[in-house]
Symmetry: C2
């Protein structure tokens, strides 16, 4: 496996593109193979066993693309499956939960950290466990926000309805006087301005996508597998695969990424 091999990045759908975007920004000379499990999205309401099965199939597929490292760009899959995957596969696997948790633990002054995400992510307790492993005195106050993803996918990023939903969801976190808020779902950074305005400027927002790209950079350096070659154009450096409806994925991707995706390929993920 050479240093020029790509990074495998996967998510339940389009949300993980916010993580891929951060990797492209921070480590611009790494190739990426992205897989979005659009046939089985969303993961947030599914069981641990199912998420582990899906993650295993996806990593097996990514290995056929000769990836040198894996980024689990889905909070639910990182929460439920990363330990099992790290045991089963023999390459570096970075999830979005641990980097976000560490920064939150380092950031909070009053020891009250809010966490918003899918039901699965909150219920798993994994963010809280990691945060407490860094700083046992921190209290983590979780709040599932199931309507945020469909609102983002409806394009309602700046909308009075989205404001009201956010006020409803974030109200209890404000009352509890958190000073740090983890956006624990890959779609949420797209609502950053709404979330920031409603939770208030005294609360520091943690974007696990940003921290994950930082962590990946450290891992590639530590393992001596960072690419040191000249880079090409985006169209040849980044490949995109989905399990369903490639056209819809492409439209959403082109609205998030700083360049237009040339091609998205649909594969049958259940075969892996």
């Amino acid at each position: 496996m050479g240093r020029e091999a790509p990074i495998g990045v996967f998510d339940s759908g389009v949300g993980g593109l916010t993580v891929a975007r951060e990797i492209m920004r921070q480590i611009p000379n790494e190739r990426i193979v992205y897989f979005g499990d659009t046939a089985r999205v969303p993961y947030g309401s599914k069981s641990r066993e199912t998420i582990i099965k899906y993650s295993r199939q996806i990593i097996r597929f990514l290995l056929t693309e000769n990836v040198k490292a894996i980024v689990i760009a889905c909070n639910t899959a990182s929460a439920f499956a990363i330990d099992v995957m790290q045991n089963e596969f023999d390459l570096p696997i970075v999830g979005v939960v641990k980097p976000g948790a560490r920064v939150a633990a380092e950031t909070t002054k009053n020891g009250k950290v809010g966490l918003i995400g899918t039901e699965g992510t909150i219920r798993s307790g994994v963010y809280a466990a990691f945060i407490k492993s860094f700083r046992p005195d921190v209290e983590v106050i979780g709040k599932p926000c199931p309507l945020f993803v469909p609102l983002v996918e409806e394009g309602m990023l700046h909308d009075t309805i989205t404001d009201q939903v956010a006020e409803r969801y974030l109200g209890t976190l404000k009352e509890r006087k958190i000073d740090t808020l983890i956006m624990g779902c890959t779609h949420y950074p797209l609502l950053r301005s709404t979330i920031g305005r409603i939770i208030g400027e005294q609360v520091r927002l943690v974007n696990p996508a940003y921290e994950t790209a930082q962590e990946l950079k450290r891992v590639l350096d530590r393992e001596h597998i960072a690419n040191v070659q000249e880079v090409d154009s985006p169209s040849s450096m980044y490949r995109f695969y989905v399990s369903d409806a490639a056209d819809k994925f492409k439209a959403f991707a082109n609205s998030i990424l700083p360049f237009d995706i040339a091609m998205t390929q649909q594969i049958s993920i259940e075969q892996y």
Copy 2:
């Protein structure tokens, strides 16, 4: 296959329980085997090919339960897959689209029928095609309402946010002066009071779940396979299967059905 054999009813998740409930009400002496594809929900945004593959797997599973007829209690699956399934399998298959379409065509006076549902259902054009086959002069005005399902699943059936979302979605249908509105997604009848209040009492609401139970009754009579035996208690007459997270399904089912479900069994649907 005896007259006492059960009816197989399936949906992408919990929504089809509104159809199962209508069958229980209108044909109380029929046994039901219900399958909710909770591991792969939602179907609304997925492609035709994927929906056909999923429907085929589910019908294969239901046949192992010796069902005498199938009800596709999912609008998206009815829209995309019913023709192919009726060709492939040798038992009566009833979908939710055709019965709803026929009643809408019979009901409208001004020839303007509104249709709300998932993107997949609207995009398929199947409701419009059936309605025009009954009455070619009818104009069908479709409006996808992707936020309705997550709002129902959040339990926000009576909520000012849901009112505003409904006003947004139904606004154009009101302007177009429809006199009939098809609730073309199995979750929507749970929002019936909100939808009815906002669209106005001059608009007749069509609930395909109700019409489907009527159609099933006619099919069972015509094929001479209606059950004529004495009936048992609900717990022995109705069986529930899901592809994921059986506990969550049970909680939602118990809030919709007039009795408590004793047991829900999880199966691995990809094996069929």
